[in-house]
């Protein structure tokens, strides 16, 4: 984990930097058990295969509307979610399938929402961009760029208000960092010392616009400086680095030190949504990223070269995951469409 080059404002800031630097030292030792790494691998692969299958169902016309795939970014959510406890809350954008799977939501019910069926998390009424699970403290699934930031700040406010020890993990994109409401939120979070980790998933592009073309300053982790919010840039293609950065940041927020920003440097392999031909970047850029930094391939190679697991075992895992995803797709196709009467329900609560 590379720590930010925050110009330090005062000593209290310096302390934060030190903690983060220390965690860097810890992280450089490979202190992960085989079991942990296997969990990472499984979770990332599940997201990858799930998303590939969703893309296929979209092509078949079984999923409609917008469908934003998370392929390439898997290490971010898997590394971070491995740190949360039951009280913590999670919120993200429309690129949300990976987040739901990583919070332990059921792939079958996520896929059934994608196909717009009764068995989906929102009974077919939300779709790809709008799923929620109170049970898993997953607060959506938001289609408006920037919206997850103040809402996430509100979740953090509830942790502070209830003094429940929980932290909000609030995800948003690089493009979203230019929305005014992000800074309104930063100010309040810092002012009231709210327990929140702001996670900027910097996949280099907001739709067809690169960070460089949209942002006057591209060190997105430094966007909290004027509010005194520390920020760290992290290699979001490496699940272990993400895990450690997440651990430090969540500890920071949980120990009443206020908000913190993690800028996850990542990459999306597919277009912005299904209809984006992604002509704004070169094939070489994508190919290089895939070949050199793929979070899943890298972890597999590492585990193989350190003899933790052999190829046969990996094949076995791959097969199991593929079966799970096929099962989810089957479930999602066989589930019924919502009852027409559902059109009128859930508009207001009856009183």
């Amino acid at each position: 984990m590379s720590t930010s080059e925050l110009p330090l404002l005062d000593d209290s800031f310096k302390k934060e930097e030190d903690t983060l630097n220390k965690s860097k030292i810890v992280s450089s030792k490979n202190s992960f058990s085989k079991e942990t790494l296997l969990n990472f691998y499984n979770d990332m692969l599940l997201i990858r295969r799930f998303e590939e299958r969703a893309g296929q169902l979209y092509g078949m016309g079984l999923i409609g509307g917008f469908c934003h795939l998370y392929i390439g970014q898997e290490a971010v959510v898997v590394g971070l979610q491995a740190n949360v406890n039951q009280k913590d809350t999670i919120i993200t954008t429309y690129r949300d399938h990976g987040h739901m799977l990583a919070t332990g939501m059921d792939p079958k019910k996520v896929m059934a929402e994608l196909t717009g069926r009764e068995a989906g998390y929102s009974h077919g009424k939300g779709g790809s961009m709008h799923m929620f699970s109170k049970e898993k403290n997953f607060y959506g699934g938001h289609g408006i760029v920037g919206a997850s930031v103040p809402i996430g700040t509100g979740l953090a406010f509830s942790h502070y208000y209830n003094d429940d020890g929980g932290v909000c993990l609030c995800y948003f994109g690089d493009g979203a960092t230019n929305q005014g409401q992000v800074y309104e939120s930063f100010n309040m979070a810092a002012l009231w010392n709210l327990p929140i980790v702001y996670i900027i998933e910097n996949n280099k592009y907001g739709m067809g616009t690169s960070v460089e073309r949209a942002s006057a300053s591209t060190d997105l982790h430094r966007r909290g400086e004027s509010y005194g919010i520390p920020g760290v840039a992290v290699n979001g293609m490496d699940v272990k680095e993400v895990y450690h950065a997440g651990k430090s940041a969540i500890d920071h927020a949980r120990s009443n030190k206020g908000p913190i920003i993690l800028e996850m440097k990542t990459y999306r392999y597919r277009g912005h949504s299904m209809s984006d031909p992604a002509k704004y970047r070169s094939k070489e850029e994508l190919a290089k990223m895939r070949a050199e930094n793929d979070p899943i391939d890298c972890l597999r190679e590492e585990m193989m070269s350190s003899k933790m697991l052999d190829e046969k075992s990996f094949k076995e895992i791959d097969k199991k995951i593929k079966e799970r995803v096929i099962e989810a797709a089957k479930f999602a196709q066989e589930s019924k469409e919502p009852d027409p009467a559902e059109l009128w329900t859930d508009v207001l609560l009856e009183v």
């Binding site: 078949m60 509307g65 009424k125 779709g127 289609g143 299904m274 919502p338």
Partner: protein, 465 residues
């Protein structure tokens, strides 16, 4: 085992596409993730990835084939590994019901001439005679998307103060490809990609307009204009009044409005009645290609803020559009798209097509419906509606938006105030349902007003009176 490779849907609205190129040949091995073909949609060329490993056993649709319907098998993939069984074919019944809506052919004979007052940037008044679809104009069949682009290009050529800004309008050529070619012609000073920061660039546009420039602000969709509605209303629409007439705001806010296709509650909303509620700006909503071109040109020339509500599903539809650069459609005038004597149907935007289809079918039942394309929602051309109602004595209003305080509510109350004695039955409103837009295909269809709803309502009204 063998798997069919199906023609994929590559966008929410794609129904067919061109199989431009095969990137692998028969007999070649492919792995999941490999690019296997290039598909052209109406917006872009997309690459198709293999989802499974296997061998491309057979090409069923040769490259260069146009109009291949979504879900048509285009190739056969045979499995490398016969142990792994998997069915990825979908049953015929599972296939998405592709909505094929026939757009009726509009008679081109009609000739409506009217007067419009145009002010230039120095607020000089000129009266222009507008003739549409008349013999004066050569016309060409183009899409609504092209008509909008042509309108902007023509106005940018004649007025150096006109510029376009919004998300993805320049290098990407528009999220819906409406601004195609504009960056190339006008350069990056006049065709500007903004960050995703609607409230900021809307306010900036308003300031630039106060200072005499003529911004066209594109919202990727009007759903995102909600981020900026304060500037649209508080800054743009009220300043002329608050400044005692000193400071006008010649600005166009445009972009797709209303439902697209299964994009859910936050991305499918009609803002017609929201904006129409407010004094200080004009609200325009085109249906056809000539509406789009002529009204957008008038909007850009108008010295006031204009809210220009387009519809994504109409972008790809083709219409005959006059080529003359003098062709304008006046703001504030409705158009009778089809004459009739039994009932008046008012509609705007995509609902005009549905109303015309309904009228077609009604004529087979012996009912003659007059269809009015409102074109402008504020100021509303109530005179055209009243004149029609005085002839037909019945009226139905159609819109996609919510019923409560909608455009139909305004129309029916004005008819009641101005032509109560001419009515043989109460005015009926056809609207979207009073619920947020659901995602599921069946629910979305129920939520949106359909052609059958119009036909049924007409039958009910006429049988009652």
């Amino acid at each position: 085992m063998e798997t069919e490779i199906l023609m994929p849907a590559l966008s929410p609205t794609m129904k067919e596409g061109k199989l431009a190129k095969w990137l692998v040949s028969e007999g070649e091995k492919v792995s999941a993730g490999d690019l296997i073909a290039e598909i052209e949609t109406d917006k872009a060329t997309m690459e198709l990835e293999a989802v499974d490993d296997g061998i491309l056993k057979k090409i069923l649709i040769t490259e260069g084939t146009d109009s291949v319907e979504v879900n048509t098998p285009i190739g056969l993939l045979s499995d490398n590994d016969s142990n792994e069984k998997e069915v990825s074919k979908i049953s015929k019944t599972d296939k998405k019901n592709i909505l094929k809506e026939k757009i009726p052919v509009i008679s081109k004979k009609e000739e409506s001439a009217s007067k419009t007052v145009i002010r230039d940037s120095n607020n000089h008044r000129t009266e222009v005679h507008v003739k549409e679809n008349s013999v004066d104009h050569d016309s060409v069949e183009i899409t609504v998307r092209e008509a909008l682009r042509d309108a902007m290009a023509e106005e940018m050529r004649v007025n150096k103060n006109v510029f376009l800004m919004g998300e993805e309008v320049a290098e990407y050529q528009g999220a819906y490809k409406v601004s195609q070619g504009l960056l190339e012609e006008f350069g990056s000073k006049r065709v500007i990609d903004t960050p995703i920061t609607e409230n900021g660039f809307t306010g900036l546009g308003v300031g630039a307009a106060f200072a005499g420039l003529r911004p066209i602000v594109e919202f990727m969709t009007f759903n995102f204009a909600m981020q900026a509605i304060d500037h649209i209303i508080n800054s743009a629409a009220k300043t002329l009044y608050m400044s005692g007439g000193q400071m006008g705001c010649p600005i166009v806010f445009r972009g797709p409005n209303g439902a697209a296709s299964r994009v859910g509650a936050q991305h499918s909303q009609c803002y017609a009645s929201w904006y129409s509620h407010v004094p200080g700006h004009k609200v325009v909503s085109p249906w056809s290609g000539s509406d789009a071109k002529g009204l957008l040109k008038s909007s850009i020339r108008d010295p006031n803020p204009v809210i220009f509500l387009e519809n994504e599903l109409l972008y790809g539809q083709k219409f005959d559009v006059p080529t003359s650069e003098d062709f304008l459609v006046p703001i504030g005038k409705a158009k009778i798209e089809r004459e009739g004597s039994d009932i008046t149907i008012t509609a705007f935007s995509i609902m005009v097509g549905k109303a015309l289809s309904a009228a077609d079918q009604l004529s087979k039942m012996g009912i003659s419906a007059e269809v009015i394309n409102l074109r402008t929602l504020r100021p509303l051309d109530i005179d055209t509606i009243i004149t029609s109602v005085q002839k037909t004595n019945h009226c139905i209003s159609c819109e996609e938006g919510f019923p409560y305080s909608g455009i139909g509510a305004e129309i029916s109350s004005q008819i009641m105030e101005k032509a109560f004695d001419w009515l043989d039955a109460p005015v009926k409103r056809i609207t979207g349902k009073d619920v947020p837009m659901p995602y599921a295909a069946n629910l979305e269809k129920l939520a949106l007003p359909q052609i059958e709803d119009i036909i049924n309502a007409v039958n009910v009204i006429l049988s009652k009176s």
